[in-house]
Structure formats: C-alpha cells, structure tokens
Amino acid sequence: MSLDPRVNRLKLGDPTAVIKVEAGENWNVYEVFHQEKRGAHHEHVGCVHAPDPQMALIFAKEQFGRRKKCVNLWVVRSADILAFDSEDEDMFATNMEKTYRDASGFKVMEKINKFKQSKGTTNHVK
C-alpha cells in the first residue's frame, strides 16, 4: 500500500482527536475532490460549506460519496486555490496551433510493435 505523503489523513482511530474548533470561526467553502479507486486521480465534484476541514470531509462523504463508487475524498478550502484571471485566457490562445507539442503527433507505434515482435510478444498494439 503506497500512500501519498503530501496528503494529511484524517485518523479515525482516536475519536477524541478529530475536531479542533476556533471559537467564532466562520464557515468556509471547501472544494471537494472524489477518488473512484485507489491510485486514480481525484476529480473535482463540487463544494460544501463547513466550519473546518474535518467537518467539510464529513459532509463531503454523504454529499458526494454516497452513491457512486468512492474510496476517498479530498477537501480543500476554496480560498486556498489560486487561479488565473479569466481575462488572461489569451495566454493559452495559440495552444491549438502548436501541434508539435501534442504527443499524439509522434509516429512510434510501428517501432514499438517491431520491438515487441523481436521479443516474441504476440499482442500487437495498433
């Protein structure tokens, strides 16, 4: 089992250690990311309002994890997300012309198949 060391894990083992609340703290918006199976990408699915990250995760579990297959969730305070301003979208404008940056432009399958054949592998990739 490999776990991403960058991510904090909510420990369920000690029920008394879960929640820390600052008095008078305002509720925040948290973005929720859903993971369908272990090792898969977490995909953004929506947001919840909660007083702290732990409650956000607890809410997110029923909000976004109760129907489809789910093995884990992330919550991130929306305010911690940094994004470009929409008026700077022009930075990306010429992407479509730069097809030489697109991996699909490389014609290598022929070489790969030839290599596999030389190794005696019968499954051809097309």
Binding site: T16, V18, I19, V21, G24, A50, I58, E62
Partner: protein, 254 residues
C-alpha cells in the same frame, strides 16, 4: 427456546433502528444547513436499511411466521420492542444530535460484538454495516465536540440534552428477563450488561473532549419497559403515521 431468544434480540434491534430511522428522517428538509440535512437523512436511511436487513433475517430463518414487511408495519404497539429513547418526538437539533450520538455509539458497540456471534447471519450483517457505523459515530462525535465547545449557549444546550436523555439511553441496554442467559451461553452476543459497560467506555472520552459532564449513572433510573412492549405515549401515533400508506392496501406489490 434459542429461536425465541433470537427473535427477541433481532426484534428489539430492528425496532430501534426502524423507529429512530423514522424519527431522524423527520428532519429531512428541515436540517440546520443543507450539508447536514443530507448527511443526517442519509444516516436515517441507513438505519431503515439495518432494520430491513434484520427483519429479513427473521423471515428467512423462519423466526417469524410472516413477511418482513408485514412484521414491520402490521404489529400491535405492544409487540414492538423498541426502547423509549427512540420513540421520543424530535425537539431541537441539540436533542436529536445527542440522541444520535448516544444511540449510534450503542449500535456500533453492539454490531462490533456481533462480529463474533455464533448466529451466522448476525455475524455477516455486522461486518457489512461496520463502515456505515464508523461514519455515523465519526459524524456524531464531530458535532458533539463542535457544539460542546461552541460557546456558552451551545454548551448549555448540549449538556441539557445529555442530562435529559442519558437515562433513556441507558434503557437501550434493558436485559431480557427470559432470554438473556441463553443468548450469552450460546455465544450469540455478550449480553446487555457487558454492552452497557462497553458503551460507557465508548462515549465517555468523547464527552470529556467536548467538556460535557456524564451524569452519575448509578444515581439515575434507566428507561426500561420498551423491550417488554411497554411504550411511551409517542409510539402509537408514530406507528399510525409510519404505516399509513402501507395499511391502505397491505397486499399491494411495491
């Protein structure tokens, strides 16, 4: 004799889940915030699901001479074996959260003990619901700790709710006069007295962290009676409402 004892145990467990599931679902659409509304409603559905599973075990094992649905909805009030705690109507959200906390810890402890049950269907069910109950107690603990430390009014309301219902919650563990010994001897479950002790050990550290005081348990009268079919005045109207649609036509196919 063992079959009668099993029926008694499964009936009281299932009735608790059915009635509290119904009570908690009365919050749907009225919860304090949308996220909590969804979480609480979802857990109420889980409870109905546990009741359904238990009634079905009784039907399959021919412990009851009728279908699970008929047993759930068409019994007389005196034949229900739910505890008084689950019968009480909702008051404030403080009350419902405290009841959720006290009941779901009891439920989690009970199912945990059933993982070693000699009655195979209960063993199987307890493994199936383990993850659900882990979430339920996590949710309950988080709220109780939030609100216990959420300022003076919040603290007062949670402590008041605790004081008011802790005796009724102790009533969950009313031992059966006739069947307790055989269920323990046959290793179906460890018995109500043992579960009560484990329950106190389970709720106490959370209450301490929440700055809430567990009342002196030796000095209070547990809310017994439900397991013998003696109920509060709140159960009959609830059963009438819950069975209203079903009883329009009990033979209808759903």
């Amino acid at each position: 004799m063992l079959n009668k004892a099993l029926t008694d145990l499964l009936t009281k467990m299932a009735d608790d889940e059915l009635i509290l599931g119904h009570r908690n679902s009365e919050w749907t659409g009225l919860g304090p915030v949308m996220e909590e509304d969804i979480a609480f409603s979802s857990m109420a559905q889980d409870k109905i699901g546990h009741a359904w599973a238990l009634y079905n075990i009784m039907e399959e094992k021919q412990l009851i001479g009728q279908s699970a649905d008929m047993f759930a909805f068409c019994r007389a009030e005196k034949d229900f074996k739910c505890s008084h705690l689950v019968e009480l109507p909702n008051a404030g959200y403080d009350f419902s959260l405290m009841r959720h906390f006290l009941f779901d810890h009891a439920e989690a402890i009970r199912y945990e003990s059933l993982q070693d049950s000699s009655f195979e269907p209960l063993q199987h069910l307890s493994k199936k619901v383990k993850g659900e109950l882990k979430y339920h107690t996590l949710h309950a603990n988080a709220w109780v700790m939030q609100l216990g430390k959420g300022g003076e009014e919040s603290y007062d309301r949670m402590q008041t709710a605790l004081n008011e219902i802790i005796g009724l919650a102790a009533g969950i563990f009313e031992p059966s006069k006739d069947y307790e010994d055989i269920l323990i001897a046959e290793k179906v479950y460890p018995g109500e007295k043992e579960l009560y002790t484990r329950w106190l050990e389970s709720i106490y550290p959370v209450l301490v962290k929440s700055s809430l005081n567990l009342p002196d348990m030796a000095g209070l009268t547990p809310g017994y009676g439900g397991r013998q079919g003696k109920h509060t005045a709140y159960l009959a109207p609830l059963l009438k409402e819950m069975g209203e649609v079903f009883n329009l036509d009990v033979d209808a196919n759903w």
